[in-house]
């Protein structure tokens, strides 16, 4: 018995992590799908089930409404709307999953961008009866814009189209025709019925013509290890550690998260913005020094030389440096009711650095349904996506968002209300 448990714990410690987001319009069965994944992976507890059974009965529903599981706050239930992203968790022996559940209609772009910003994968739901619609394209475009490398297109409600292969193939062809324009390297298609569980966790007996894996098989096996950037070494300094006690009298450690590439003791590094070079003396953790640090580890680095480095600086390799500039082109998604002010001044946060910026120009707005540029439309408001040029008060050291999702992303903050107004991806 004990041996078996220890074995289990070991397996648990080897588990991998996949973060995904789900996208679909209101009646595509998204809540049912998430409910199904939670239920079939035994992640719903008896008291949660009892609570939604009770609520379903009280609301006069003749079935257990799994969507109530993802329906959080009273403020939302009262208004019948969803305020924003909710996070769900489930695990199989292979992986732990974090689901950013982003329902809602009006606020959709804002919510999906938020959920997608940390996701490895997006599930796009299509109602088999309706096929590819405007929203399908919008969701796919946002996933592509946020550089999500894996999309799983679930053609749902196959039970309502007699599990027809032709219907599925038609939708797949339609999606492929439009997705050629997207920048997503891995797109998979699965015909499912979330309600009946076809191809969600168990292989469907109703669709023998489908040879691929189930959704759960895809989620468990999609290869994400190489999605992070292990080439361009980037270490934004978060915090300087100076114990100032007898044991560590002159200790000066630079704490941060490795955001790209790898670092080893002995590596020559440059500190930005000063340009001073030094060598890595040690990479420290409480569990002992490391031979190598890589994303997304949080470590503390010490250097051979005593050079002046503080929060907001970045350690990189001499032969592979990021762009350093004050004039930056961004694709932005606006997240606030207050519109973007042309020539407005804002606070900008980029890695561990903070600066101020001025919006020099709105280049264009994007029609998120057709992906067309609208050159003569310069007004950017809530849920809009557009391209802008900013100038910052001090230089940022950055990569394109395509190259590195951390060193290529910023948030824009209102100087007066302190609210987060926009998400920006550096071009």
């Amino acid at each position: 018995m004990t041996e078996e448990i220890i074995h289990d714990s070991k397996a648990y410690l080897d588990m991998d992590l996949l973060r995904f987001t789900t996208a679909g319009s209101v009646d595509d069965g998204k809540s049912t799908l998430i409910g199904r994944l939670l239920f079939d992976s035994k992640s719903i507890f008896a008291d949660q089930l009892e609570a939604i059974e009770e609520a379903s009965t009280r609301k006069g529903k003749g079935y257990v409404d799994l969507s109530l599981l993802t329906d959080g706050l009273r403020a939302e239930r009262e208004q019948g709307i969803t305020i924003d992203v909710a996070y769900r968790y489930f695990a199989t022996p292979k992986r732990k999953f974090i689901v950013a559940d982003t329902p809602g209609h009006i606020q959709y772009t804002r919510n999906m961008v938020t959920g997608a910003s940390t996701a490895n994968l997006t599930i796009i739901l299509i109602d088999a009866r309706h096929g590819v619609i405007e929203q399908t394209m919008r969701h796919s475009f946002i996933a592509s814009l946020l550089q999500i490398k894996h999309i799983v297109v679930c053609v749902n409600k196959m039970d309502l189209v007699d599990y027809s292969e032709e219907v599925y193939e038609k939708i797949k062809a339609d999606y492929e025709a439009f997705s050629a324009k997207l920048d997503v390297p891995d797109i998979q298609f699965i015909p499912i019925s979330a309600l009946n569980g076809d191809n969600v966790v168990d292989k469907s007996e109703n669709m023998p013509w489908y040879q691929g894996g189930t959704l759960m098989y895809n989620l468990e096996n999609v290869h994400i290890a190489s999605d992070l950037n292990f080439v361009d070494a980037r270490f934004p300094v978060q915090y300087v550690i100076r114990p100032q006690n007898d044991e560590y009298h002159d200790y000066r450690g630079y704490a941060g998260k490795v955001e790209g590439g790898t670092f080893r003791p002995g590596d020559e590094v440059v500190a930005l913005p000063s340009g001073f070079t030094s060598k890595i003396k040690s990479i420290d953790t409480i569990d002992g020094p490391l031979d190598e640090a890589f994303p997304p580890m949080s470590v503390t680095v010490t250097l051979e030389d005593n050079i002046d480095i503080s929060r907001g600086d970045m350690l990189v390799k001499t032969l592979n440096q990021p762009t350093v500039s004050q004039d930056i082109e961004l694709m932005i998604c606006w997240l606030n009711d207050k519109k973007l002010i042309p020539n407005g001044k804002y606070v900008i946060k980029h890695t561990t650095k903070e600066a101020r910026c001025i919006v020099k120009e709105v280049r264009y707005k994007v029609d998120i349904n057709t992906l067309h540029k609208i050159e003569d439309e310069k007004s950017i408001g809530l849920n809009d996506i557009g391209r802008i040029l900013i100038r910052t008060t001090s230089p940022l050291y950055y990569d394109s968002y395509k190259k590195n999702r951390t060193t290529g992303s910023v948030i824009i903050i209102d100087e007066f209300t302190n609210e987060t107004l926009a998400a920006g991806m550096i071009i």
Binding site: M15, A51, Y89, A91, T118, I241
Partner: protein, 300 residues
């Protein structure tokens, strides 16, 4: 590719990153420490985040006076072990001052009163960021909580007015008098916490393990015998072999019957559990939105 971090290591790296962000962005952070397993994880993560320096903020405990003696002893021992500054404030003092008043009834809970004392403590020390061990898997109101949760000058949470949180960029900007609650282990599940305690070989209060205790069955829960509970009707205490899944007030924390005497056995139990750990918390059952309402008032 050999560059692979296990999910628990990724969650640890995320939590350490958040703790360092707080230490860098705020002037007077504090770690709200209950003696429970989640806050024990937080203390360990804080040690890791600032090693080889000591934890650069105090541990703060709001003591309802209804705590298990084992928890209080454990709290003092841990604070001494890690060399942290421990600040304790008592709900009883708020009652004596007249800013709080005990509930009436057979098991009056001081759970709600904690919020009053907590906000008074935040004001007293001018804390601008308080770490909490809340997790999003615990309760539906928490599923939408941010890592950096903004509170107004009354300490209130406005679910409709939370800042969007993207990538790992955390906006801790605030007006004078406002503060933040920060939840570094938001993305952890109960199982992750237990596995982490096991992997890190961390000590936890003895009430998490099986023991004999006098308990009374009330509202589907076994409540521990204490001075704060009045027996009703034909209720009577009986001795059972139990353990606790969470550490809260004696008046509202239910025990489960269990023989689990090691972390491995507790993990086994968690893995086959049919109820969430908050299912043993009477304070969450008062109304369907009990947690949401308390959070709005400034609860943990």
């Amino acid at each position: 590719m050999a560059y692979n971090l296990s999910h628990l290591k990724q969650l640890e790296a995320e939590a350490i990153h958040i703790m360092r962000e707080v230490a860098a962005q705020f002037e007077r952070p504090a770690l709200l420490f209950s003696g429970g397993k989640d806050s024990i994880c937080l203390v360990r993560l804080a040690q890791k985040a600032f090693f080889p320096a000591k934890i650069p903020f105090p541990l703060v405990h709001v003591d309802t006076g209804h705590n298990f003696v084992e928890t209080i002893a454990f709290r003092d021992k841990l604070a001494a072990q890690v060399g942290a500054n421990l600040i304790v404030r008592n709900v009883q003092d708020s009652i004596n001052r007249g800013t709080a008043q005990d509930e009436k009834g057979p098991n009056p809970s001081r759970n709600g009163l904690q919020t009053i004392t907590l906000l008074e403590t935040i004001e007293e020390f001018k804390f601008d960021a308080c770490f909490g061990g809340a997790r999003r898997d615990e309760e539906k109101a928490r599923a939408k909580e941010r890592f950096f949760s903004h509170r107004d000058e009354f300490g209130q949470w406005d679910p409709k007015n939370q800042r969007p949180e993207l990538w790992n960029l955390y906006n801790g900007k605030k007006q004078v008098g406002e503060h933040f609650r920060v939840f570094p282990i938001s993305n952890w599940t109960e199982m992750d916490v237990w596995q982490y305690l096991d992997a890190e070989k961390l000590e936890i209060p003895s009430i998490y393990y099986t023991h004999q205790r006098e308990v009374v069955f009330r509202d589907n829960n076994w409540l521990a015998k204490s001075d704060f509970i009045t027996l009703m009707g034909d209720e009577k205490y009986e001795t059972r072999t139990v353990r606790f899944r969470t550490v809260g007030d004696m008046t509202c924390t239910g025990a489960v019957e269990s023989n689990a005497d090691t972390i491995e056995r507790v993990i086994q139990e968690v893995a086959s559990a049919r109820n969430t750990e908050r299912g043993t918390r009477a304070d969450d059952k008062r109304t369907e939105a009990a947690m949401e309402d308390r959070k709005k008032q400034g609860y943990f």
